[in-house]
């Protein structure tokens, strides 16, 4: 089963963290696809040394663009299940099994990780408020009753991955994916996962100002169509 599981990691200037992440994931799921999103540090070299597959964006196009690149590559490789996993060490490889379980069991085509059903370790209050607002936004705008709206830990069956076409290059892709899941009508399930925050991951995370920009770009994309 594991041979058919591809773990896609989008990485941008993650030289110091991505090596450990790739090693931990590769130990259980060897088909790790790292998409270096035009990093200016040594991320691509680390990924090439550690990951089974390394793709490189010539220029930075954003996390959404990098994930779509990895998903398309994995589909082309014949992946049966595609997991998206953060490069900054926030996610635990132990949770991958729980994420793919509903897909393997045929209960769902898509699994969405939820830190609020699971655990959010060292999550600052300000970030918690922002994430809760994102959940509220998702319930109102995306009309999806999720407990966690912007968790990068997701799993797709091959069929579901074929329905996903991320066009929002940057962080607005999280809402776009939720829209596409709703429109596809495919069964999805939220799975409890643990997300561990560190100084590093918090520094790499989305600021409130950028979150406002993300909302703007997402709404504009909906207007433009």
């Amino acid at each position: 089963m594991r041979a058919g599981v591809y773990v896609v990691i989008a990485a941008y200037n993650e030289e110091s963290a991505v090596g450990d992440v790739i090693r931990s994931v590769s130990a259980l799921y060897p088909n790790v696809v790292v998409v270096d999103d035009g990093s200016s540090d040594g991320t691509a070299d680390v990924a090439a040394a550690e990951a089974r597959f390394t793709l490189r964006h010539s220029i930075n196009r954003g996390q959404g663009a990098a994930l779509q690149t990895g998903i398309e590559f994995a589909i082309g490789r014949g992946a049966r299940i595609i997991v998206t996993f953060d490069a900054d060490g926030q996610h635990r490889v132990e949770d991958v099994a729980a994420m793919i379980a509903p897909i393997v069991a045929g209960e769902a085509e898509i699994a969405l990780g939820s830190r609020f059903l699971g655990r959010a370790v060292n999550l600052p209050s300000s970030r918690r408020v922002m994430l809760r607002l994102a959940v509220l936004f998702t319930r109102i705008v995306n009309r999806m009753p999720l407990t966690d709206a912007h968790n990068g830990f997701r799993a797709f069956s091959r069929k579901a991955a074929g329905h996903i076409n991320i066009t929002a290059d940057r962080m607005a892709h999280a809402s776009e994916i939720i829209d596409q899941i709703r429109e596809s009508g495919l069964a999805f399930k939220e799975v409890p996962v643990e997300v561990r925050y560190s100084e590093y991951s918090l520094a790499k995370g989305q600021s409130t100002v950028r979150a406002v920009g993300t909302v703007f770009h997402y709404l504009m994309a909906r207007v433009i169509g």
């Binding site: 597959f53 220029i59 954003g62 779509q68 590559f73 290059d169």
Partner: protein, 139 residues
């Protein structure tokens, strides 16, 4: 119409006592040249007809307003319900800029998306050429 004639007469009276209208001459020259250039370019088919027509009409309107600035006051009062012509120009410019920014944003997003598709195809093609296309491509 009576108000238009009155406005033109008032403007004329002011002109008689003012210094030479240097700014007006510059504006007429600039917008006149712009209109001629745009009209010729459009007629020669160097830009899309609809685009050329839009910019030519805009330049013509600016030219007419430069020659008879009192027309903007008449237009503002009679058509837009605004007291001063310059206010109407500012309002219309602001509206035009918002529309322009939106259209530029849409075009920029489309270009970004096309760029991403190109970058993606290149990345996948390079990975496949580099050995990732086979199962032996492991590090």
């Amino acid at each position: 119409m009576n108000e238009l004639l009155l406005t033109i007469a008032q403007q004329g009276a002011r002109k008689a006592t003012n210094a030479p209208p240097t700014m007006q001459i510059i504006l007429v020259a600039v917008f006149g040249a712009a209109f001629l250039f745009l009209a010729v370019t459009t007629l020669r088919g160097r830009i899309r007809t609809i685009t050329g027509l839009f910019w030519s009409l805009l330049a013509l309107a600016a030219l007419v307003a430069s020659i008879w600035p009192e027309l903007t006051t008449w237009f503002a009062r009679q058509v837009l319900g605004v007291q001063a012509g310059i206010n109407a120009v500012v309002y219309l410019t602001a509206i035009g800029m918002v529309i322009g920014f939106f259209m530029l944003y849409v075009r920029l997003q489309r270009l970004r998306n096309e760029l991403t598709v190109l970058v993606r195809r290149l990345a996948i093609a390079e990975a496949q050429e580099g050995g990732a296309g086979s199962d032996d491509g492991a590090p």
